[in-house]
């Protein structure tokens, strides 16, 4: 290899008489410099903390006037959301249920497929096929949510209406199918990490006892990786619950709780869609706007809880992987 860029100066350098030790002044400056530098870096890194605090502060502060005037009780228990009536009612129960409803329905579709796909990627295919399959998952993750919403409302909704004879194509089923597609990349990558982190020994032990792949997977590997898989599901849930454009465009935005509860072909409305849809019309300083911020607080709290749960399971998964 040629030594490009490397110049060797042979012979004594000019300042060879300079002692190796630093002068006290240099030492002090270096000390102060390095600590100052660290402090500046620390402050910059603190932006994230600051951002979280500011988000909490401002979303909560904005919702305070509403919660003071209307009370938390009615907000969380009433099913009526009539923000523009003469006597406005802000009952977010329907919205909260709607958000949970589509997210859980989405998980019902996404989790089985996601776990199977994770097993496929980690245990079954060769590297070559994996390198083809992995980009599919990545592209699915890269497509912006508004494009999924566009697909849901202009392609999937008319198709569903024709194929299944629903009264409307924009309904809970449509939204949850799309949410499932969007949650899948998250679920697959986290679950695959957890499953492949377990190491060969566990699998080899199982195979050497004569277990088939199915038995190895369902009785040994997946139970051992359960923390990571739970974390994957929770992260998928977080993705689904926080998603806005798709549910706004595809869920039909009808303020109702489906009845009977299993009927996915009804329109529903979620918290995120309500904020997105009504913020533009809510006048500044009014109760409506403040109520929408309160909905934002509920959303924020939900994702916090999910976040804590996912982190608990992720740290357990890390420990489990370390042990095996």
């Amino acid at each position: 290899m040629e030594s490009r860029g490397l110049t060797l100066t042979l012979g004594p350098s000019d300042d060879r008489r300079r002692p190796l030790a630093l002068t006290p002044r240099e030492d002090l400056l270096g000390f102060i410099g390095s600590y100052l530098g660290r402090a500046v870096l620390f402050l910059i890194t603190g932006t994230s903390v600051l951002a979280v605090l500011l988000i909490l502060l401002f979303v909560i502060l904005r919702s305070v006037p509403f919660l003071r005037d209307f009370g938390v009780g009615e907000f969380l228990t009433s099913r009526a959301w009539r923000p523009t009536a003469d006597e406005p009612v802000f009952g977010a129960l329907t919205l909260i249920v709607g958000s949970l409803y589509v997210s859980i329905a989405a998980l019902l579709f996404a989790v089985p497929v996601g776990i199977l796909a994770a097993v496929f990627l980690s245990d079954i295919v060769s590297w070559k096929i994996r390198n083809v399959a992995k980009p599919v998952v990545e592209i699915l993750a890269a497509i912006p949510s508004v494009a999924y919403g566009f697909f849901a409302v202009l392609v999937l909704a008319p198709w569903m209406q024709r194929r299944f004879g629903f009264s409307t194509g924009t309904n809970a089923l449509n939204a949850s199918v799309i949410l499932a597609i969007m949650a899948l990349p998250t679920i697959i990558s986290v679950a695959e990490d957890a499953i492949s982190a377990l190491g060969r020994e566990l699998r080899e032990a199982s195979y050497s006892l004569g277990a088939t792949r199915l038995e190895t997977m369902t009785k040994v590997v997946i139970p051992a990786a359960h923390s990571g898989i739970i974390a994957a599901v929770v992260l998928g849930m977080m993705r689904a619950i926080g998603e806005t454009m798709v549910v706004w465009m595809a869920s039909g935005n009808a303020t109702q709780i489906p009845h009977p509860w299993w009927d996915l072909s009804q329109s529903i409305r979620t918290m995120t869609a309500t904020i997105a849809g009504e913020m533009g019309e809510a006048p500044e300083g009014g109760a409506h706007r403040s109520a929408l911020f309160a909905v934002g607080v509920v959303l924020l709290l939900m994702t916090f809880v999910l976040n804590i749960v996912s982190e608990y399971f992720l740290s357990r998964a890390k420990k489990a992987a370390g042990k095996s």
Binding site: G30, G37, L41, I44, T45, G46, T47, S48, V49, V52, L54, I55, F58, V59, L61, R62, P112, V113, G114, L116, A117, V119, F120, L121, I124, V136, V137, I139, A142, I143, P144, S145, V146, A147, G149, F150, L154, V155, I181, T212, R213, I241, G242, T244, M245, T272, I275, A276, M279, G280, E284, L292, F293, G296, L299, L300, T303, F304, L306, S310
Partner: protein, 547 residues
């Protein structure tokens, strides 16, 4: 359990896992396929002469002489259509003909006044003219062909009278002959049906204030306010569907009582059987090619043009500019912040409560729903920070970029951290052993080595920022408006435009190619950004390796 059963269950399981990946691929194809297929129609299509006219008028983009020659040729072919319609109209449009007769009568009276005629002559001529008018009106209103023939014959008897020579009253006689000619060929009891059907045909052919037509407005019609109705079918596929509507009349029929209505198609020519309009329905399909001159067009200007009439014409230029602006300004904030944070997390921080708080914040930030970022951006940047910095508290590009920068901060930090962490320790130790300070080691050794990975983080953040919609709903995106002049203006973006065209726009539904074109442009832009960054990354990688 039986070994055979176990084995087949195992096969089933393996098959299912494979099927799940196949399902994902199919989903990807099902999502992207139809969108890309239809979206490509915004750029590649059969452009008609109307399209070229539109390009000339709205975008000042044409080979004017060639186009003028082409228009003259097509006008010649179209003239036949105009004549057919006019001829048919003469026998049908009773209201118009009656008012024409009355107009002639009035004008004749005015003309008489300026002639030197004796009062008796004047009165007599007026009376004859009035009588002719009444006869004509009677004929127009009648449904009895015998009565019409009689009336018209009586009118025509006055034809050679000298008092009408060279006056406006001569038009009476052309009116009368035209009408008789038309009346002989139609079923007089169906005047009303004809009128309604004719109106439909005219809207399909020439358009109306609201609907664009096949051939565009007739030469003598007043100019229309909207660009979309001022031209005929600009695209061959549009022309085909309009032609279909012209040739086939659709009707909702109740087949059995109580059952939902069924759509039925019948040839429209049947409606006009035996009339002067019947040949139109064979002439137009035969000559449509000559009337519209479709030509394969690559409308690459779709990516730079502004739009007219809610995206009916034109492209997505301002949307692309807006998206790029928001993305670039956002990256200016998030890249330095993210890289420095990552450097601190890897190089300086030691385990402890501070570190845990930092980590937790980053994870929390990554989990906050995008719409909450929108709320935060509105409450903090637009309504709180801007007034205090002396900016106007209104949604703008800067607010949107800042909001998106906060949103992508965790993505950026995590990717950079990962990249810095994967730099081999030996690199760093080598540098430190040579006496370089930690800062110097980071800048000259660790950072360049980590650059490919950091670029990956930049890619991820880029595509995230370009595609997000919810956070910019209240902080900077608008569906209509001028191209932004500074970062303190709100802007149109591809993402918000896609939303708006998908649900909010009646006109957009008439042009699915533009609707899909917008969203495909967004997807393509994101994929291109990714591709560019990947190429960049591989180059940096090669350089680092010393090849």
């Amino acid at each position: 359990m039986n070994l055979g059963v176990r084995r087949s269950l195992d096969r089933l399981f393996t098959g299912l896992t494979g099927a799940s990946i196949v399902l994902l691929m199919l989903v990807l194809i099902a999502v992207l396929g139809p969108m890309i297929y239809r979206g490509s129609g915004a750029v590649l299509f059969g452009g008609t002469v109307e399209f070229r006219k539109m390009q000339r008028d709205l975008f000042n983009r044409a080979d004017r002489d060639a186009l003028a020659a082409e228009i003259a040729e097509t006008d010649e072919v179209r003239q036949v259509v105009h004549e057919m319609v006019d001829r048919f109209k003469k026998g049908i449009d009773i209201a118009a003909m009656s008012s024409q007769a009355r107009e002639i009568n009035r004008e004749y009276g005015r003309e008489l006044r300026y002639r030197d005629a004796t009062p008796e002559e004047y009165t007599e001529s007026r009376e004859v003219a009035r009588a002719i008018r009444d006869k004509l009106e009677e004929a127009f209103g009648s449904q009895d062909i015998e009565l019409i023939r009689k009336n018209i014959a009586e009118v025509l008897a006055h034809k050679d009278e000298p008092r009408f020579k060279g006056t406006v009253a001569e038009r009476y006689f052309t009116l009368a002959t035209d009408f008789l000619d038309a009346a002989e060929h139609i079923d007089l009891s169906r005047y009303h049906d004809y009128l309604v059907a004719l109106d439909e045909v005219e809207v399909i052919l020439f358009g109306s204030i609201e609907h664009p037509g096949l051939l565009g407005p007739r030469p003598n019609q007043p100019a229309r306010p909207l660009a979309m109705t001022s031209y005929g079918a600009t695209r061959w596929d549009q022309a085909q569907s309009l032609l279909d509507r012209l040739v086939w009349a659709e009707k909702w029929v109740e087949k059995e009582p109580g059952q939902p209505l069924v759509k039925e198609r019948s040839p429209r020519a049947e409606l006009f059987h035996g009339t002067a309009l019947e040949p139109l329905f064979t002439y137009v399909p035969e000559q449509l090619d000559e009337m519209l001159r479709p030509r394969f067009t690559v409308y690459w200007q779709f990516f730079i043009d502004d739009n007219f009439d809610s995206h009916y014409f034109g492209g997505v230029g301002p949307e692309i500019i807006g998206t790029l602006l928001i993305t670039v300004v956002g990256m200016l904030f998030v890249v330095p912040l993210g890289v420095i944070s990552a450097a601190y997390l890897v190089e300086c921080a030691s385990d402890g409560p501070v570190m845990r708080i930092l980590r937790m914040s980053i994870n929390t930030l990554a989990g906050v729903p995008s719409i909450v970022f929108g709320l935060f951006g509105l409450a903090f940047f637009v309504l709180f920070l801007f007034p205090r910095l002396g900016f106007e508290p209104k949604p703008c590009i800067l607010a949107a970029s800042l909001t998106l920068a906060v949103l992508t901060l965790p993505v950026m930090i995590r990717a950079s951290e990962e990249a810095i962490r994967t730099v081999p320790r030996s690199y760093k130790e080598g540098s430190l052993a040579l006496g370089a300070s930690r800062f110097r080691t980071f800048v000259t050794v660790t950072f360049p080595a980590a650059l490919p990975g950091i670029l990956t983080g930049v890619i991820l953040s880029l595509s995230r920022i370009a595609g997000e919609t919810a956070p910019i709903l209240f902080t900077g995106a608008v569906s209509m408006g001028p191209v932004p002049k500074s970062i303190f203006d709100p802007t149109r973006t591809l993402s918000y435009g896609s939303y708006d065209m998908a649900v909010g726009d009646r006109l957009a539904m008439m042009v699915p190619h533009n609707q899909y074109g917008m969203v495909v442009t967004l997807i393509t832009l994101i994929l291109i950004l990714n591709a560019v960054a990947i190429v960049l990354r591989s180059r940096v990688f090669k350089k680092l390796k010393g090849h």
